[in-house]
């Protein structure tokens, strides 16, 4: 049985954005059964030593699958697809999947996450007037690059929905509160709508943040 270490107790505007969603989404796409070990993020339970035994950096989510204890959403989502026999067998095709997973988390996420931070967490910090327009420019560039790379494909790799799409969607969603970012990029907007419309995404979203009380109810 798979156990995901997930979060509850966060502000409602973060529903759909906290990273445990990525793991629930992959599990729902693959039709795998799982339990959620809920941690109250408002009390910082994820930063306690008991969680650092599974996730050394005191973050959410982690996953335990029998003897396999894992952290880092990129690695967890890739593992789930591979273990379910839904990853490419061919090393070249697998490299392309990896490449787009790293692109989502290492090239796109930093820009979109900082937009979220400046808008929702760093309201009192100085420097916004200078940094924010710069971030908007980077976001626009990333979306233009992404749209060009995708061309008329429906999904990032081989036109089949997979791990990279889970990561890319949730990363772009960090800026969903600023819809004007996406206005000049209708292909990306359509891509996000396509991914959000998947029943597995909807099921994952419904589980996110629900917490132990709702389970018991």
């Amino acid at each position: 049985m798979i156990t995901v270490y997930g979060a509850y107790g966060f502000p409602p505007f973060l529903k759909g954005i906290v990273r445990d969603l990525r793991v629930y989404w992959a599990l729902e796409e693959l039709g795998l059964a799982y339990d959620i070990h809920w941690m109250d993020s408002s009390k910082g339970e994820h930063r306690e030593n008991s969680n650092r035994l599974i996730n050394p950096f005191g973050k959410i989510p982690s996953m335990v699958d029998g003897g396999q204890r894992m952290f880092e959403t990129g690695a967890i989502v890739l593992y789930l697809y591979e273990n379910a026999g839904k990853a490419p067998q061919d090393a070249h095709a697998r490299a392309e999947v990896n490449q787009w997973c790293f692109a989502a988390l290492n090239t796109v996420e930093p820009v979109f996450l900082d937009i979220l931070r400046w808008d929702k967490f760093w309201m009192e910090k100085t420097g916004r007037a200078e940094r924010y327009p710069e971030l908007m420019g980077f976001a626009d560039e990333r979306l233009a690059d992404l749209a060009r790379a995708m061309g008329d494909k429906h999904y990032l790799v081989g036109n089949v929905f997979g791990p990279a799409d889970i990561l890319m969607t949730t990363v772009l969603d960090f800026a969903r509160h600023e819809p004007k970012i996406f206005e000049n990029h209708p292909a990306i907007r359509a891509y996000l709508e396509r991914c959000h419309a998947r029943p597995a995404y909807q099921r994952a979203l419904a589980k996110q943040g629900v917490g132990p009380k709702a389970n018991a109810a």
Copy 2:
């Protein structure tokens, strides 16, 4: 034959930090032959459309290996080890390698890269007095977490040097100009010294930034 798209023309203090080093290092560890297609980063050649055909986000490095065109250092380094038969065959062991590669690039890099930015690129930006001490605190926490996770291991996964160590070393090196960050973490300092001492690292470092003129000389 493998071709790496690498950079020259950057300020000397970036030698050892620009991301193409990661790919040279992996190739040197694996004893693979390669050419370097040099791009003059001072002229922004990496941002031109010709490079965006290989690297959609206009960044350095990319790699072409026969029919395989790749970007994202995390994916390239993993691909090189796998293609050379030096990656674990077992899905569980491979997941552990992936996990530490993502940890380097998605959990450690953001903190250490921002320290580099504030010290070397953002001297004129407002907000440093507020943000910098916060980043120092995060860096200290990441190093403590990393040291605890490594215990007495010499390398990140299975006590054998591999892709995750290449990524982690180069990520931690973003803050090498601030040695006091590492003062309270002797195990991490020793880990970095161990990785830097590898002959393959030294060979990769010697190639970085050399550029086409030196090749012709």
